[in-house]
Assembly symmetry: C2
Homo-oligomer: 336 residues x 2
DNA sequence: TTGTAGGCGTTATCAG
DNA sequence: CTGATAACGCCTACAA
């Protein structure tokens, strides 16, 4: 409740002096008055008014975490358990660096622009960005933007990503090494330059390298809501031309397993299943889910470091960080 | 980028007039100038600067979603899948009402106070609040506070809760009706006046009503991380004096099931298991999980409505909303 | 080492 | 109907 003015009056100095000690501009103030002012700050309980700061400086300390709504279904940002895993990590790291996190869903480019101007937002995290006009808008922003899991590159924009191609390849190769040849690929809709597309390429190339022809009718794209994924599982149960399924998300894999089971099939005896992400769920299904592991909290932390560096104008050697993946063997895959 | 001033200059009127049409104060401005100003706003792309507004008015339109960190483990807000389910719902509803959501983790009371003053926060959502000095601080705030899942009541504070007692009772009674008498209770640490405590009371009373003596050694409290829950399952597997387990969270129930299975036990043949929450996971485990259902998105939405009413100074008939629960039968419980 | 003054974008009061 | 003007809290030249 106390303002700089209050402090100044209490101590009997000017606002400037108070401001100076608040910002640690030593040298400009005598040690004496510094302690005096600090005492007053403690006693009167001064807390900076960020709105006022944002108004006068050109930094608001607000970082936006943007979710670009395209698919109609999703209610908002935190739609899947994997996504929510690093948002906590982001808030924590941001806070440690003196920033504030605003969560915001936007539908259109102008939604985004309005939000940015509303708060003089300092920087942005975005997930689920593809090659479209929304991305174009991002590239034109004056503020640092860090994409998470994106494959649309641009000199202005940083990206924290994953070895998605390798993940797709590794998973598929693993299944092939286990003797599988008829491997389905299940995923949410494959968008060009998207994460899923990369995993899809990995899948196809692993097949090719093993001289297994790619069959388009083994690709299954659908939304990730539980009902849909289970239905897919029941449908896959009827396919005699499939021995293994690679799903690009654990929740999808788990849904498929549930569907298969509903249809009277066994995993892994009748169908081997692989997931992607290694969320907690993998240890809770039965059989437990063999999957591709990635480190979600680390992703969040690195994303923030990236943004902080950009905000501090530190030179960025490479505007992309690619986190490694590795395969985690559990019980859902069997040798043929 | 354009400010009110810019608009005013473009049209050739004063800032006041522009401000008036922005706020739809009809009657005070001629229809003519209104259209003129609106055109300029469209062309020049005016977007209000919320910092400036926050500074001069006493409303910032910022709503804080606070997570009070006590247990050291959790990294931040969105730690469990259930919790994250309604945060999306909250952001959406808030946005539709012209508010902005800031996510913030606080450790101490003064962390909270600082945050509130930093941004002139208009209102607050809190989860995981118990009877402690943090709660005391909340009751003294001048802004509306909506607690989610709290059992510490106070005239100043709203609460959106659940029939937790009924949930505990219903679950336990269901197991009893299925012929179980030796029913374990598994939960995170039971804090007084907490959600879990209510469910615990329901459990105990259901036992009492069936003349089954409560046994303290059938109560298992531990954290909800996957490893711990699975370990608990393996330990329970060795207990010959238990036929059913009621877990107060689905993730806990799922972990226990996984542990039981690891230890060579079958669910529900050897142990019946019940969960609580009805998250997606329940349909993905095998057997699928019988549980107590609650509507997380609705909870979020109602929490926002509550807050909006308080912010609009609407009379609030009752400062508590209790959402109903119902039992969802699936496969994890068997009749003895 | 310290103080003065102006302005950031907005709103509210009051006068024309 | 419209326009000055002050104020919100803070920062930053520029003076002293």
């Amino acid at each position: 409740m106390a303002t700089i003015k209050d402090i100044a009056q209490a101590v009997g100095v000017s606002c400037t002096t108070v401001s100076n000690v608040i910002h640690g501009r030593a040298g400009r103030v005598s040690t004496e008055t510094i302690t005096l002012i600090n005492e007053a700050i403690d006693q009167l309980g001064y807390v900076p008014n960020m709105s006022a700061r944002a108004l006068v400086s050109n930094s608001s300390k607000v970082i936006g975490m943007i979710s670009h709504l395209t698919s109609n279904k999703k209610e908002s940002i935190v739609e899947d358990p994997f996504h929510s895993a690093f948002i906590g990590s982001i808030e924590k790291t941001l806070r440690e660096n003196g920033y504030y996190l605003m969560l915001r869903t936007v539908e259109t480019t102008s939604d985004l622009m309005n939000f940015l101007h509303n708060w003089n937002v300092d920087g942005l995290f975005c997930t689920g960005v593809f090659q479209d006009e929304f991305f174009e808008a991002l590239t034109k922003l004056k503020i640092p933007v860090v994409l998470i899991d994106s494959y649309v590159a641009h000199p202005n924009i940083c990206n924290v990503g994953l070895q998605d191609y390798d993940g797709g390849y590794t998973a598929t190769k693993y299944l092939i090494d286990k003797g599988h040849k008829d491997i389905a690929f299940a995923s949410p809709p494959i968008k060009k330059k998207g994460v899923v597309d990369e995993r899809f390429q990995g899948y196809k190339n692993a097949l090719a390298d093993a001289s297994i022809p790619f069959r388009k009718n083994l690709v299954f794209e659908q939304e990730l809501d539980t009902a849909t994924t289970i239905t897919l599982g029941t449908q896959l149960a009827a396919r005699k031309d499939i021995t293994a399924i690679f799903a690009t998300a654990d929740i999808l894999a788990a849904g498929i397993m549930a569907g298969l089971k509903q249809a009277g099939k066994r995993v892994p005896e009748d169908f081997s299943v692989m997931g992607f992400d290694d969320i907690n769920l993998c240890q809770l299904t039965s059989p437990t889910l063999t999957t591709i592991h990635q480190d979600a909290p680390l992703k969040g932390k690195l994303a923030v470091y990236f943004l902080m560096d950009k905000l501090d104008n530190k030179p960025i050697p490479d505007n992309e960080i690619i986190l490694p993946i590795h395969l985690v063997e559990r019980e859902s895959v069997i040798s043929l």
